[in-house]
C-alpha cells in the first residue's frame, strides 16, 4: 500500500514538472496550483470529517470517534497551513504581495484560527471525557460560521483569487491533460491524508 502511494505521488510530481504545459498568462507558475488545490481540498475535507465525527461522538459517547475527530483536525491544520503558504507564494508571484486579506485568504485564515483554537482547547483539558465532549461541541459550533463567512466576506471585498476549477457556468476551462493530472494529484493527496490518518488512529488504539 505504501509503495503504491509513494509511486503514485512520485509520478504525479513528475507529471506536474515535465508533462503539464505552461498555462496561458501564468506560465510555469501554474504548477503551484497542482500542489495548492489538492492541499486546500484535503483541509476542507478534514474539517468536514472532524465535524461529522464530533456529531457521532456526541450521539454515541464512544471515545473512538473523538480520536478520529482530533486526528482529522490536526492533519487538517497541517494541510491548511500548507495551502495558506503555497497560496501566499502564488499571490506574491502573481499579484505582487504575500498577503492582502483577499476574501479567500480571510476565510482560510479563519479556518486556521478555528483549528488552532480547537487544538489548544484539547491540550488544556486533562480529563479524557471532558476533553472529548467540550472539543466536539466546539468543533460543531465553529463549523456554523463557515457558511456565513462564505457568503458575507465576498460582499465586503472583491477577490483576485482565480475562479474555482469548476466555475458557476459548470464548464471546465482547462486542458484535458491538466485536468487528469489535477485529479491524480487530488487523489494522491487524499490518499496521503487517509494513510496518515489511519496511522494516527491505530497508534491511539494500540496505546489504549
Amino acid at each position: 500500500m505504501r509503495i503504491v502511494l509513494s509511486l503514485w505521488i512520485m509520478s504525479v510530481i513528475y507529471a506536474v514538472l515535465y508533462i503539464v504545459p505552461p498555462a496561458e498568462g501564468l506560465g510555469n507558475l501554474v504548477r503551484i496550483a497542482f500542489f495548492h488545490i489538492p492541499v486546500a481540498w484535503v483541509s476542507v475535507l478534514a474539517f468536514l470529517l472532524s465535524a461529522g465525527w464530533s456529531v457521532q461522538y456526541l450521539r454515541t459517547r464512544d471515545i473512538q470517534y473523538d480520536w478520529k475527530s482530533s486526528a482529522a483536525a490536526s492533519l487538517g491544520l497541517l494541510f491548511c497551513l500548507l495551502a495558506t503558504i503555497s497560496g501566499a507564494i502564488f499571490a506574491k508571484l502573481t499579484w505582487g504581495a504575500y498577503w492582502n486579506w483577499d476574501p479567500r485568504q480571510t476565510s482560510i485564515f479563519i479556518l486556521l484560527l478555528i483549528y488552532g483554537a480547537y487544538l489548544v482547547l484539547r491540550s488544556s483539558i486533562q480529563e479524557e471525557k471532558d476533553r472529548a465532549k467540550v472539543s466536539a461541541v466546539y468543533a460543531l459550533l465553529s463549523f456554523l460560521t463557515v457558511p456565513f463567512l462564505v457568503f458575507i466576506i465576498p460582499r465586503f471585498y472583491f477577490s483576485l483569487h482565480p475562479e474555482p476549477v469548476i466555475n458557476s457556468a459548470g464548464k471546465l476551462e482547462m486542458d484535458m491533460i491538466m485536468i487528469y493530472v489535477l485529479l491524480a494529484a487530488v487523489g494522491a493527496c487524499t490518499a496521503l491524508f487517509w494513510q496518515c490518518f489511519s496511522y494516527m488512529v491505530q497508534n491511539k488504539q494500540k496505546s489504549f
Binding site: 456526541l58 479563519i110 484560527l113 478555528i114 488552532g116 483554537a117 489548544v120 482547547l121 488544556s124 483539558i125 486533562q126 480529563e127 471525557k129 471532558d130 465532549k133 467540550v134 466536539a136 461541541v137 466546539y138 460543531l140 459550533l141 465553529s142 456554523l144 460560521t145 456565513f148 463567512l149 458575507i152 466576506i153 465586503f156
Partner: protein
C-alpha cells in the same frame, strides 16, 4: 418545603437574578470591566492625541474595545461557578436551557450597561459625530447580544480548562467574526453619515438567532454528562 415547578421563563429569570445578586454583592465583574474599558479607551485617546481618525478606523476601534472588554469579564458567569464549586449544585437544580439563557441574559445586560457607559466617553474622547442615533443604538444592541451569545457558550466550555482567560478569547473570536465584521462595517457607515441597508441589520439579527439556536442545541451535551 413544597415542591414548586417553575415555567422555563421563570427559571431563566431566577438564574439571571441569582447572578445579578452575586454580582451586586461583590461588584467584581462590573468594576473590572469598567476599569478595563477606561484604560483601553484612555490609551487609544492618548496615543492618537488630537488627530482625527478616519471613520472606518474609529468604528473598528469601538468594536475592538467592546470585544476585548467583553473578553475580560464575560467568562466569569461559568468560571466563577467552577472555581467556587457551585457548578455541581447548579447542574442538579438548574436545567440546561434555563442556565444557558439565564447566563446569556445576564451577560447581555452587563455588556449593555458597559456600552451605555463607554459610548459617551468614546464620543467625547475621540470627538466623533453620530448621525443616525436610532440605527446606531440598534447596531450596538445587536452587536452586544451577538458578543454575549458567542461568549456565554464558550465560557461554559473554558470553565473546565487550564488557562481559562487566554483560551476564552482565542475560542470566541472565530465564532464571533462574521458578526464582528458586519458590526464594524455598519458602524463605519453610520459614522460616515450613510444610512445602513436593511440587509446589514437583518444579517446581524439573523446571526444572533442562529448563534442562540446552535448554542441551545449544543449546550445540553455540554451541561449533562
Amino acid at each position: 418545603m413544597p415542591i414548586t415547578r417553575l415555567s422555563l421563563f421563570n427559571r431563566i429569570w431566577a438564574i439571571m437574578m441569582k447572578d445579578g445578586i452575586c454580582e451586586f454583592r461583590t461588584r467584581y465583574a462590573v468594576s473590572a470591566l469598567l476599569m478595563f474599558a477606561l484604560i483601553s479607551l484612555a490609551s487609544i485617546s492618548m496615543a492618537i492625541g488630537a488627530a482625527r481618525l478616519p471613520e472606518d478606523l474609529t468604528a473598528a476601534l469601538l468594536w475592538i474595545l467592546l470585544f476585548f472588554c467583553a473578553m475580560a469579564g464575560l467568562s466569569r458567569v461559568f468560571v466563577q461557578e467552577q472555581e467556587s464549586g457551585t457548578i455541581l449544585a447548579l447542574q442538579i437544580y438548574g436545567s440546561g436551557q434555563a442556565v444557558l439563557f439565564g447566563k446569556l441574559l445576564f451577560n447581555t445586560f452587563m455588556l449593555l450597561t458597559l456600552t451605555v457607559l463607554i459610548i459617551p466617553l468614546f464620543i467625547v474622547f475621540l470627538n466623533i459625530e453620530i448621525y443616525h442615533w436610532s440605527i446606531f443604538l440598534l447596531v450596538l444592541i445587536l452587536g452586544d447580544i451577538g458578543i454575549a451569545a458567542a461568549s456565554t457558550v464558550t465560557a461554559a466550555m473554558v470553565a473546565k480548562t487550564q488557562g481559562k482567560h487566554a483560551l476564552f478569547t482565542v475560542m470566541t473570536f472565530p465564532i464571533l467574526l462574521p458578526q464582528f465584521l458586519s458590526s464594524i462595517s455598519t458602524t463605519a457607515k453610520i459614522l460616515m453619515n450613510v444610512k445602513p441597508d436593511v440587509s446589514d441589520i437583518m444579517f446581524m439579527a439573523a446571526y444572533n438567532v442562529v448563534l442562540m439556536i446552535a448554542s441551545s442545541i449544543l449546550f445540553d451535551y455540554l451541561w449533562y454528562d
